[in-house]
Amino acid sequence: MDPVTIDTTKIKPAKKKPETALEKLEDTGLINTVLAAKEREGLILFSTVDQIINWARLSSLWPVTSGLACCAIEMMAVAMAHHDIARFGMEIFRASPRQADLMFVAGTVTKKMAPRVKQLYEMMPEPKWVIAVGACASTGGPYHESYAVLKGVDLIIPVDVYIPGCPPRPEAWLYGVIQLREKIKNEGYGAKWGLNK
């Protein structure tokens, strides 16, 4: 008598909960779009909307031209050829806050300058990011017990990245910029659902 053979192909496996990004794509069926495109020797780039938008945003951060103190000298060094933030698409310092989406608070925020800095920030269109550069803009720095200096620019506007230093070297500055790019990369719903990895 022949042994009973079980046809394993007919057994449906229990549905696995999608975990990785690829499995989630398969789960939604969107992967078929990709495969179809592949069959057609497709010229279709497949991505999430978030990823595309974030990529576009972080690749052309345009800072507003504003410097408050000696850190602004360092900002010029960062923009010049040796360190060259044009590599990040940031070389266009806009003269108008209406066209900028990044503000370097580069220097001491005095009490007299504080409302102007705030107005500048409010004039910038969304989405906008702020980098506080140097000890003064982060905490007040050497002027912490002064009558005329604000103890950190985050008292008046929200700050995304703080760069310590007095003033920070251009390398530190570039590291801060890269940190901001990482932050922008992980914004939006896609990152929350694990699709932006």
Partner: protein, 167 residues
């Protein structure tokens, strides 16, 4: 003979004492005789008034004038001692035009009034600021904020709720 001793020879009643302050000849002079001394100092060739400083010693104020002569390449320091209550001194704007802003600065930060000054208003801090910050009795506890008025002018207030972020 240095410039301070020469000044003492010219005006023995006005100069209280002479000495040296950081390699510069120093003359401590009487408050009432300042304009007379200034006239002589100008005639001695000190054509540049480089700095006016006010110092609070808690029991007295001192006003320090630093002069320089481009012709003689010499320095001269004048010092005037004032009482702590209501410090007031004559303005030197009639002799040196540059004294204008220097005196305004000293008035702004130390609170010494210069009589005869054409426009004795604050120069660094906005109008309405409470107190003179370089005084020893300046109140550091009440924080003052500057906000923009309707025409873009500075408005000083101790209430920073319009400027600061809500936490």
């Amino acid at each position: 003979m240095n410039a301070a001793e020469e000044l003492k020879r010219l005006l023995p009643n006005a100069v209280v004492s002479t000495g040296i302050q950081i390699n510069k000849p120093l003359a401590v002079i009487r408050k009432e005789e300042l304009l007379k001394v200034a006239e002589d100092v100008k005639e001695m060739g000190f054509d540049h008034l480089s700095v006016i400083t006010g110092i609070d010693y808690t029991d007295r104020f001192e006003v320090v004038y630093n002069f320089f002569s481009y012709g003689k390449k010499q320095n001269l320091v004048l010092k005037v001692i004032l009482g702590h209550d209501n410090p007031e001194i004559d303005s030197l704007t009639t002799f040196w035009k540059g004294a204008d802003w220097l005196e305004r600065e000293t008035y702004d930060l130390v609170g010494i009034r210069f009589t005869g000054h054409p426009n004795l208003t604050r120069i660094l801090l906005p109008e309405g600021w409470i107190g003179h910050p370089l005084r020893k009795d300046y109140d550091m506890k009440t924080e003052q904020f500057v906000m923009l008025g309707e025409d873009g002018e500075d408005v000083v207030s101790t209430d920073g709720s319009k400027l600061l972020r809500r936490k």
